[in-house]
């Protein structure tokens, strides 16, 4: 009789524990709205991997808000601003959704700004680099970026060009807000410094089948290097076409990191095309140059949650690293807020301190005046290697 009583009370205790836990275990939702169905995309996938890795770590450490797990919802905006806006609107209806991570495309993020304002949706930007992403008219500002900024990218590329003997450069830009953001940044820098000189700006539209015309214009104008703002398909098209040029017409390409968002190498016409061109690309993070112990830890989680085994297999590493760190910072902010209310979490994001991320150590990633976690010094040039990885150019 008595044994039965104990047995019953033990069961009741544990079940009540379960219910308590069940009550607390309601997930906190994070969303990722990125360009998943983009052919040859690597950016959305790497961002997702970064978020998933961080979430796995956070959840195994107990989650947020006293044991609530984080959950990721993915949406596909196909790099279309209209879709981005539509997705934000829909995501805002989801209960306990605290933030939306954006993808590669600055034009999408920029066009969602009114909707973000309207829905008081936190946008965490791990990739888009247009200045206007964080330098926007929202008040309060709901976008937080841990990524390259054109304001930094352009100077870094231009300095790199000058440092490597190219006194005259040509700007080959995409006819989007991203392209225009870069132009502004370039003009700002070029105005201040005397070198390098810009021989001109050539614009192309993203559906242009060839960039050769524009390239030729800049070449004939006397450019010694091309500052390229392009995505993977356009970049691959240019490089493939340049290979058929005589050697003396193949200028060094100093490229923005849009090309790394997709299968840049895979879209080349010939496998060794890139070997024929002096191609460098701007980056902010490399798994090869990051703190290796950190990398090892992270890789463990990566291996656990995906089929990736080693670092070389992670394409578009900047997306991975930035998203990973942003997720951790967000978790911290959520805990600081103690609620899933976005308004509060937004404020708390500006309060997060002392986060030791995989990209770098963040003393204070964001503040009320600055929503960009990275600085000019975090920017460096890299190259594609034969194994398809992007590795920093050693100075």
């Amino acid at each position: 009789m008595r044994k039965v009583w104990v047995f019953i009370s033990v069961i009741v205790f544990f079940s009540s524990l379960g219910t308590v836990q069940a009550a607390d275990k309601k997930a906190v939702i994070i969303a990722l709205d990125a360009e998943f169905s983009l052919l040859n995309s690597t950016s959305a996938q790497s961002i997702k991997l970064g978020i998933d890795t961080a979430i796995a770590e956070i959840n195994s450490a107990g989650g947020v808000l006293n044991g609530r797990p984080l959950k990721l919802i993915s949406k596909d905006n196909r790099s279309m601003p209209a879709r981005g806006i539509h997705n934000i609107r829909e995501l805002a209806k989801v209960k306990d959704l605290v933030a939306v991570f954006s993808g590669r495309f600055s034009p999408v993020v920029l066009e969602t700004i009114p909707m973000l304002q309207q829905t008081q949706m936190i946008n965490l930007a791990p990739w888009s680099s247009a200045d206007g992403v964080t330098e926007n008219s929202m008040s309060p500002n709901y976008i937080f970026r841990l990524s390259l900024k054109d304001r930094y990218a352009m100077p870094a590329m231009l300095k790199f060009a000058a440092d490597n003997g190219a006194n005259k450069i040509g700007l080959l830009l995409t006819n989007t807000s991203w392209g225009r953001s870069n132009l502004k940044a370039a003009e700002r820098y070029l105005q201040k410094t005397g070198s390098p000189l810009s021989v001109g700006t050539a614009w192309y539209n993203w559906r242009d089948k060839t960039l050769m015309q524009e390239y030729q214009i800049l070449l004939k104008a006397g450019a010694q290097a091309i500052i390229l703002v392009a995505n993977d398909d356009e970049g691959a098209s240019l490089v493939s076409e340049m290979v058929s040029l005589p050697k003396d017409q193949r200028l060094p390409i100093i490229s923005h990191w849009g090309v790394t968002g997709g299968d840049f190498i895979g879209q080349m016409k010939t496998a060794d095309a890139l070997d024929q061109i002096n191609f460098s690309v701007v980056q902010t993070f490399s798994l090869f140059s990051a703190k290796q112990d950190k990398v090892a830890d992270v890789m463990q989680t990566v291996r656990r949650i995906s089929t990736i085994n080693n670092v070389e297999q992670i394409d578009a590493p900047v997306g991975f690293g930035h998203a990973y760190d942003l997720t951790h910072i967000l978790a911290k902010a959520i805990n600081l807020a103690g609620t899933t209310e976005r308004k509060v979490i937004r404020d708390k994001l500006e309060q997060v301190r002392d986060y030791d991320g995989i990209v770098k150590y963040f003393k204070r990633p964001f503040s009320a005046q600055n929503h960009d976690a990275l600085i000019l010094e975090d920017v460096f040039m890299a190259r594609y290697h034969a194994d398809g990885t992007i590795r920093p150019i050693k100075k």
Binding site: R78, S79, M80, A82, S177, R207, D208
Partner: protein, 597 residues
């Protein structure tokens, strides 16, 4: 029914005239005219319809071309990198996209709204008026999701539009991410097609209808003709399946022509009727005078009215006919008159003859009654005397017997001669008396006759004087015995009806006309004029019945008949108190006999 009509035609000239006049008018005016009008109407109607069908064919093709051109142009535009860029680049859209869209918003002189929409169907850049396109967001979104361009015919505020949704496929995802949407007013296209022909625009309404396989031609409940021609379209547009519907109030268009035809037909029918009446009247112009003439003839015969003067005064054929009629009628009247007179004469003659016949009949009756009386008289005597002979005694018989026998013989003889004479007369009248002609010597005959009558003359105390000089006479072609009988009768009469101691003279003379006259003259009492007629009546003895002179009373009658048989004539004169002369004219020769018998 047909019989009565045919008979009417035969009888009435006016009908025939009417038929002759109205038949051509019927044929030409009514039948041929109506037929021609009907043919004109039909052929014009068909021509107009064919022209419209051709127009429909041409315009359907033009519409198709316009659509195809618009579609091709917009498709090319949608492949323009600038357009696709516009899907991504909001800042750029305002600068380069709107002018670009505006430059493409007039194709083939047709202006339309052109809009670039996002994947939901909201407009991102536009030329013209997006108001209408916004209402189609769902259709646009559906098309973009399907990734296939699609077309619709939409009606907005009673105007029809072609809605084209040209889906823009994003090359980086191969999915529909936006669309170039255009709205083309069909009325504008129709106006530009019809604007060359002002008349058409007022009468034809162009519309768009659902698909048909071939050109169709129908008339709807309101009497409006619809000529439906499929519009040939290319590629994805062909799924639209539309046809050009020309709405024409063909019947209205042809109303004037129909009215004219009706007016014509009615007019020609009225004309026909008028012609019938006029020609009937014309016919009557001819037949009425004829009828009047006819009536005048009838009247004439009935009432002796003249030919109506108004007909006589006419100068045409009727007038001359009337005058002829008048003359004929005059002649007829005369003839009638003459006829009447003749008829009167004849009637008189007939009456006379009748009277004669009656008289003859009466005579016969009297004759018979007289005869029977005469027959009875001797018979009575015979019987009486015979009876007497039976009754008388034998003694007296002998003396009386002779007397009585004598009387009986006398009476018997009288009876016999009477019977003979009656028979003779009968024979003569029946034409059965035999007469045989031969050449006869006159003098011999006369002498014989005289000697025959000598005894009688002696008895009566009369002198027989022969002054005939018969020996000088030629032979007569006659019947001797009959002539003898005649002369005998005349001489015996002359003897019997003479005065005392009178004389009977025989004379003979030859007449101019080949006849011989033998006359017997007596000096008796003679006859009064009023007795002349009765002389030859049988049994009429002129008061001598009761007298002594024996005679039957039919001798002269027979004699005259015999003389007629001989081809001659007998006649007499007489003066009361002086005597009479009886003569017979006997033909001399055969020819004369034959001429007279």
């Amino acid at each position: 029914m047909i019989d009565t009509i045919l008979k009417a035609f035969q009888r009435k000239t006016s009908f025939r005239v009417a038929a002759a006049a109205s038949l051509p008018s019927l044929v030409f005016l009514v039948l041929i005219g109506s037929f021609s009008f009907w043919q004109i109407y039909e052929s014009t109607y068909n021509q107009v319809k064919s022209a419209l069908e051709y127009d429909g064919y041409v315009d359907a093709r033009r519409i198709g071309e316009t659509f195809n051109t618009i579609d091709a142009t917009i498709t090319t535009l949608s492949e323009n990198p600038t357009i696709a860029n516009g899907l991504i680049d909001s800042a750029g859209r305002e600068t380069y996209l709107t002018p670009l869209l505006e430059s493409f918003s007039v194709i083939q002189n047709v202006k339309f709204d052109l809009v670039l929409t996002d994947f939901i169907g909201n407009s991102i850049a536009y030329s013209g008026n997006t108001f209408h396109i916004d209402r189609f967001s769902q259709l646009i979104a559906a098309a973009i999701t399907k990734g296939k361009s699609v077309f619709y015919i939409k009606e907005i505020e009673d105007e029809k539009y072609l809605l084209g949704i040209n889906v823009i496929i994003y090359s980086r995802t191969q999915t529909g991410e936006g669309a170039l949407v255009y709205l083309v007013s069909l009325d504008e296209i129709f106006v530009s097609l019809l604007e060359g022909d002002k008349q058409k625009t007022s009468q034809i309404i162009y519309n768009i209808k659902k698909p048909v396989n071939k050109v169709m031609d129908t008339i709807d409940a309101d009497g409006i003709t619809h000529i439906v021609t499929p519009i040939p379209l290319l590629s994805e547009l062909s799924e639209l399946g539309i046809a050009l519907d020309q709405e024409i109030k063909l019947d209205e268009m042809f109303l004037p022509l129909r009215r004219i035809s009706l007016v014509y037909i009615l007019g020609s029918v009225v004309c026909f009727i008028i012609i019938v009446f006029i020609s009937l009247w014309l016919g009557r112009q001819i037949t009425r005078p004829l009828k009047a003439l006819e009536n005048s003839v009838i009247d004439l015969l009935v009432n002796a009215d003249p030919v109506p003067p108004e007909l006589l005064q006419r100068r045409d054929e009727i007038g001359s006919l009337a005058s002829s009629f008048d003359w004929v009628i005059g002649e007829l009247r005369e003839m009638n008159h003459t006829l009447e007179n003749k008829v009167e004469e004849r009637t008189r003659d007939l009456l006379l003859a009748r009277d004669e016949a009656v008289n003859a009949n009466l005579a016969k009756t009297r004759f018979l009654s007289s005869m029977s009386h005469e027959l009875r008289t001797p018979l009575t005597a015979i019987l009486g005397f015979g009876q007497m002979m039976e009754l008388v005694s034998d003694e007296k018989l002998v003396k009386e017997k002779k007397k009585y026998v004598h009387e009986i013989m006398l009476a018997g003889k009288q009876l016999l001669s009477l019977i003979d004479e009656v028979l003779e007369l009968n024979q003569i009248e029946a034409g059965k008396l035999s007469v045989s002609f031969s050449n006869v010597a006159v003098d011999e005959l006369i002498q014989e006759t005289l000697s025959m009558n000598r005894m009688l003359a002696d008895t009566h105390g009369i002198d027989l004087i022969d002054q005939t000089k018969a020996a000088e006479q030629r032979p007569l072609w006659t019947d001797a015995s009959r002539l003898k009988q005649v002369l005998n009768n005349l001489i015996s009469n002359a003897i019997k009806y003479n005065r005392e101691s009178g004389s009977v003279t025989l004379l003979c003379e030859q007449l101019a006309d080949d006849k011989l006259r033998i006359s017997v003259q007596d000096v008796g009492e003679g006859l009064h004029k009023d007795q002349f007629d009765k002389l030859f009546i049988p049994f009429e003895r002129l008061g001598r019945e009761a007298g002594v002179i024996e005679g039957t009373g039919i001798g002269l009658t027979i004699t005259r008949q015999v003389v007629n048989l001989l081809g001659g004539k007998m006649d007499f004169t007489s003066e009361p108190g002086k005597g009479s002369i009886f003569w017979v004219d006997i033909p001399l020769s055969r020819q004369t006999v034959q001429g007279n018998t």
